[in-house]
Amino acid sequence: MSGHSTYVPRTALGKWFEARLPVVRLLHDTAVSYPTPRNLNALWTFGGILAMMLVVQIVTGIVLAMHYAADSRIAFQSVESIMRDVNWGWLIRYLHANGASMFFIAVYIHIFRGLYYGSYKPPREILWILGVIIYLLMMAAAFMGYVLPWGQMSFWGATVITNFFTALPIVGQPIQTLLIGGFSVDNATLNRFFSLHYLLPFLIAGVVVLHVWALHVVGQNNPLGIDVKSEKDTVPFTPYATSKDVMWIVLFMIFYGWFVFYQPNFLGHPDNYIEANPLSTPAHIVPEWYFLPFYAILRAIDFNIGPIDSKLGGVLAMFGAIAVLAFLPWLDTSKVRSGRFRPIFKVAFWLFGVNALFLGYLGSVKTDDILFHVPGLDYQAVVWAKLSTFYYFAYFLVILPVLGYIEKPKPLPVSINDAILAKSAPSSAH
């Protein structure tokens, strides 16, 4: 794609085809001869893992759709019959339900990889923003998918989340009615969510193509965060990256398989095996685990901020927590990409990671729970959520912009090749 094509059609048919539609050349340049930095570590295999998971979700989803009935009177029973009656239905549903969780585990690792190695910095801004869009679409797809089995968590999750829109003044209520197609979540909601749940993964596939295209224009980042300078810094995608990707895909599949076969309901919520009941809200509603950090941020804002009431404030903070990612290329002012060479950034980054996990935990407990029964730390969970939310935003809006000016990075190696040679020849290093 970027003018390095080495593809030479060998057969007569290959030549004939090449002159009419050079798609084989495109694939060859993308997945065979494409030069990758020679120092990539295992974290760079998660792009391939994500692509595989998208295919898994689409294949299992299309099969589920053959047996599922999007009608609020029978949706719950149809999922139960997939589990009990359909040949291998239990396997396909568990692959799909746990596949969504695996998809998110992989995307979070993929995102944190980018955060640490500065993969969002020039010239990869568009690549990064396309990634944020994929992440948003994934969240929408997973949310609507979770509504389909029409259990208690499906129903109340859909109610609470579509009610986010009512926080907007004036237009909020009409938007919510338009989204759910009624005065409360009902059959109309279920039907449109099914239609959109089927559509979104294909939109994701489309954005993935753009994401990979952008990647192949600017090239991959690498653990050192320095630019590829010569051919010596790279190896061809096949066999080097391909074999590494395949190995990590297999390891990931073992992890995924463990959940599917041994703990298929561990990541779900038992209340979703109770059919939706519009008259009774479960005592403690929680979203799926991958939304918990954002749920904690939503609940942390229980105070009015000037003219913005607590409800709108919570919703804005929650969406803002995702939107801020799109501005990251311009918020981080440091010229150095990789966190390896940034001593203060490193600390802030790991704190951010721990803080994100802590937010996830906070999203899973009740707001008035006491987390630490230690004098002086025995605050309600909502107090911790406020502190954590503060750090989440401070990382993006204060720490990263300021660090670029005050931090003194360690010296960068001259090239990827030099750095590797220095490492593999310890005699010359001392």
């Binding site: 109610t159 338009l178 519009p278």
Partner: protein
């Protein structure tokens, strides 16, 4: 095609281009509307506009819940104590100062009298959907003896007014009328 200089006057081609463009924009907007509006509640949902309820069996301290437009509406026959508690609250203490009663003026204050049924201060008819994010609050619970929402902890008093927690407004009162002394039509 002898002339090589562009004429200063708008040409016929410019006119056609702009006219077609303008028609195109209006046409696309008009064609988009049905595709957006089809998502709004359909005729059968809108038709569920009213229900009639017999409340003769509801003793003081009891309540019934009926569905109206897919939402639960509670009809509570309040005890004297509940009514007194509702009346005793000063308006300044309320988070939401408005009655939120579809049968009263939009600017009516949230006094207990403006929330209870006209002429029947013991009867409270109210949509039992939390004004925060739409969960169903539990009856006879919370520190004000009214309703408590388990989702994010909003507390409503015996008149259904928001007293603490993230919910911004009092529980809304739907349009309703007494057909007879013991029969109510909601909607």
């Amino acid at each position: 095609m002898a002339e090589s200089d562009t004429p200063a006057e708008p040409t016929r081609r410019d006119f056609l281009l702009h006219a077609a463009g303008a028609f195109g924009v209006v046409g696309v907007a008009a064609a988009a509307w049905p595709f957006i509006d089809q998502m709004n509640p359909d005729a059968s949902t809108r038709a569920l506009a009213s229900v009639e309820v017999d409340i003769s069996g509801v003793q003081p301290g009891q309540a019934i819940t009926v569905m109206w437009r897919g939402k639960p509406v509670v009809i509570r026959n309040r005890t004297e104590k509940e009514v007194e508690e509702g009346k005793a609250v000063k308006l300044e203490e309320l988070k939401d100062p408005l009655a939120r009663n579809a049968n009263a003026d939009a600017s009516a204050d949230a006094s207990d009298a403006n929330r209870a049924a006209a002429g029947k201060e013991n009867i409270l008819v109210m949509t039992k959907v939390c004004t925060h994010l739409g969960c169903i609050p539990l009856d006879e619970s919370g520190e004000f003896g009214g309703w408590f929402c388990p989702c994010h902890g909003s507390v409503y008093d015996t008149s259904g007014r928001i007293r603490s927690g993230p919910a911004p407004e009092n529980l809304p009162i739907p349009p309703y009328a007494f057909l007879t002394d013991t029969k109510i039509r909601i909607g």
